[in-house]
């Protein structure tokens, strides 16, 4: 009865930086690229705890969490976000990350539930292409 065909179903992505790390150039560039690709990006800013990020994702009903980290604490903080999602029974929310992450760590993080990781130098289109593939039903209007 109510209108549906004109409805837009953009994918919502909560992005933020976990831990003590003030390097936000990268996450802002990625946020901008995702906006330009038609995603709704909710940027939560610096120095977030895993609990804060997950809480924001739940309130915002986001399908994706994008984490950025350049401090070297990714092996602790990225899995902590995944654990918090488990605790809040929200494992349907997809987690991806970016930052200075050694190759050996990437496999380990993937095993722990971070779906994809992007390192410095990754073309922005690659990130967009990954999201498009992961969420073929949504995105731009």
């Amino acid at each position: 009865m109510m209108a549906t065909k004109g409805a837009v179903k953009p994918i919502r992505i909560v992005m933020g930086k976990v831990g003590l790390d003030g390097h936000d150039r990268g996450v802002k560039v990625v946020a901008r690229a995702l906006r330009d690709a038609g995603y709704e990006v909710i940027y939560t800013g610096l120095r977030q705890t895993p609990e804060m990020i997950v809480d924001a994702a739940l309130q915002e009903d986001a399908q994706v969490i994008g984490l950025s980290l350049h401090s070297g604490a990714h092996m602790t903080l990225f899995p902590a976000v995944v654990e918090e999602l488990k605790r809040r029974k929200a494992t349907d929310i997809v987690v991806f990350g970016g930052g200075i992450i050694p190759e050996d760590d990437i496999e380990a993080l993937k095993k722990q539930g971070v779906e994809e990781l992007f390192t410095p130098g990754t073309p922005l289109q690659d990130i967009v292409a990954w999201l498009k593939k992961r969420f073929p039903e949504g995105g731009s209007t």
Binding site: A3, R32, E40
Partner: protein, 299 residues
């Protein structure tokens, strides 16, 4: 909490399931008081709202925020960044913050916002704060939805002429001159007062509140002004008149939404209609036919 978040998503998507949900919640709905904030980018709206949340939480009230930002007209994407200023309340279950893209849908923000406010009220959040960047017509939509509209100004936004042409004088119930630690804030208040003195006498005269939101200064005065305006609406009977008008407006919008959709369907499916439309060169006859055949005669 996730149920509420999901429901707001449905409202935003204009999903048909919303109708049933709203019916089911009808008896639970206790309308929340809605305070709207609008102003130019960077005037400190989110920071003021953050300060208000802190104040209201000290009074043990549950508070919800709907923070809107524009979507790109080209890709539909958006960066919704108002949350950043409010993240210290992130883990408080009595604070619900939701970012909303204005989405550029024709019904505008107001229909989705109204329904989201109703949902938040049903979940016990009161007041609901609605924040919108004033960069066009969205501030008018805030005024149409909010019980009290607060317009936020700062020093260095231009001289008094900007204030007349922006049309903000009419929509504000309360003015805030934020960043009162900066030079020039007294002049802004002075010019504003001058402008307001030229307005016709009204029962409610918008007060001007000075704040320095980053230092939490002036927030209590602001809340007192909001409460005073609320009382004014209630004692003068304007509250109930406003509620009635809004319900009518919303109903008209719902009708328009359904009609628009049917019209689009009809134009998309019926090639004869498109042909006639091109022949006529004007929309009126075809519109009449659509109204007759696709809107009035359907269930």
């Amino acid at each position: 909490m996730r149920a509420l978040a999901r429901a707001i998503t449905l409202v935003e998507r204009r999903d048909p399931a919303v109708r049933e949900l709203q019916q089911a919640l009808r008896d639970r709905v206790r309308p929340a008081y809605v305070v709207g904030f609008t102003g130019a980018p960077g005037t400190g709206k989110s920071t003021i709202v953050d300060g208000l949340i802190s104040l209201l939480r000290k009074q043990e009230r549950s508070v919800a925020v709907i923070a809107t930002d524009p979507n790109s007209p080209f890709t539909g994407g958006a960066i919704l960044g108002d949350r950043i200023r409010m993240q210290r309340h992130a883990l408080d279950p009595k604070v619900f913050i939701r970012s909303m893209g204005a989405r550029g849908h024709l019904g505008g923000l107001s229909l989705a916002a109204r329904e989201a406010i109703r949902l938040l009220g049903a979940f016990g959040f009161d007041p609901v704060i609605l924040e919108t960047v004033g960069v066009g017509q969205s501030e008018l939509e805030v005024a149409a939805v909010a019980d009290t509209t607060v317009v936020v100004l700062t020093p260095n936004l231009g001289d008094g002429v900007q204030m007349i042409k922006a049309g903000i004088l009419e929509i504000a119930d309360i003015f805030v001159v934020n960043k009162s630690d900066l030079e020039g804030h007294k002049r802004v208040a002075l010019e504003l007062r001058g402008m307001l003195n030229l307005s016709p006498k009204a029962a409610w005269r918008p007060p001007i509140i000075a704040t320095a939101a980053v230092r939490q200064e002036g927030i209590e005065e602001l809340w007192a002004a909001i409460e005073a305006h609320r009382k004014h609406l209630e004692t003068t009977g304007r509250a109930s008149a406003q509620a009635e008008k809004r319900l009518k407006d919303e109903t008209a919008e719902v009708v328009a939404e359904v009609a628009r959709e049917r019209a689009r369907d009809a134009l998309g499916e019926d090639s004869k209609l498109s042909q006639r439309l091109l022949q006529d060169g004007t929309p009126y006859e075809v519109a009449d036919e659509i109204l007759r055949n696709h809107i009035m005669n359907s269930e």
